[in-house]
């Protein structure tokens, strides 16, 4: 597609259930990011994938959170045993992430997010 696609756009779940959020980045973008945005807050970095390098997981808030990126394209963010404080909009972004360079162009292209509500 032309932009970053995320699904589902909305997810309501019960406390304790597991959820999976999907991100389909822009074709050709090697860098993929997950951010979390709570109501009225800025963006909280969760995890970063760059090509075939080991992902930067430093932003994941707990071991209930995990993410994978298959084939260097689609990514799935999984939250196990969801808690009410996990309620937020989860934003995925991708960027060119120029191979062989430590820094990419910096411009992130965001999807519209997956709004998660944990009851």
């Amino acid at each position: 597609g032309a932009g970053v696609s995320q699904s589902p756009s909305n997810k309501v779940t019960e406390k304790g259930k597991d959820v999976e959020l999907r991100c389909d980045p822009i074709s050709g973008h090697t860098a993929l990011y997950w951010y979390r945005q709570s109501l009225g807050q800025g963006l909280e970095f969760l995890i970063y994938f760059q090509g075939n390098s080991a992902p930067d997981k430093s932003g994941l808030p707990s071991d209930r959170f995990s993410a994978e990126r298959t084939g260097g394209s689609v990514s799935t963010l999984t939250i196990q045993r969801t808690q009410q404080e996990d309620s937020a909009v989860y934003l995925c972004a991708s960027s060119l992430g120029l191979a062989g360079r430590k820094r990419d162009t910096g411009e992130l292209f965001f999807g519209e997010g997956s709004r998660l509500t944990v009851l």
Binding site: V4, A31, Y33, Y35, L39, G40, Q41, G42, L43, E44, F45, Y48, Q50, D56, G59, L91, A93, S95, G97, K102, R103, D104, G106, E107, L108, F109, F110, G111, E112, G113
Partner: protein, 113 residues
């Protein structure tokens, strides 16, 4: 400015006015800065960026100013339009080695016709 709790700082302007949105960044080692615009229900959208070897950069109707001495970034929007109403985030790259931007909490811009 920075927000406290759930309340974003808000800037209210009249259509046609010039708007200035300010941001204080935290790390003197940051060398790359971006402004993003987020409309309600959408993901953030890139507006303009600036590297630390510059103190000013202009785009279409927008100008970013960087003052490294006081670690201050501003976004100026000329002839503000109702479509400019959104939350504006500044972001800094403060990790050497790879690009993981750190975002501020945002400022809401409300433009009245």
């Amino acid at each position: 400015g920075e927000s406290v709790g759930l309340h974003l700082p808000t800037l209210s302007v009249q259509e046609g006015d010039n708007s200035i949105i300010n941001c204080a960044y935290s790390n003197s080692a940051s060398d790359y800065f971006i402004w993003y615009k987020q409309e309600s229900g959408k993901g953030p959208q890139f507006i303009i960026d600036i590297r630390s070897n510059m103190d000013k950069r202009q785009g279409q109707r927008v100008t970013v100013l960087l003052n490294k001495t006081v670690k201050h970034l501003s976004l100026q929007i000329a002839a503000t339009q109702p479509g400019d109403s959104a939350v504006y985030f500044c972001a800094e790259n403060k990790d050497s080695g790879y690009s993981t931007l750190t975002f501020g909490k945002g400022t809401m811009l409300l433009v009245s016709p």
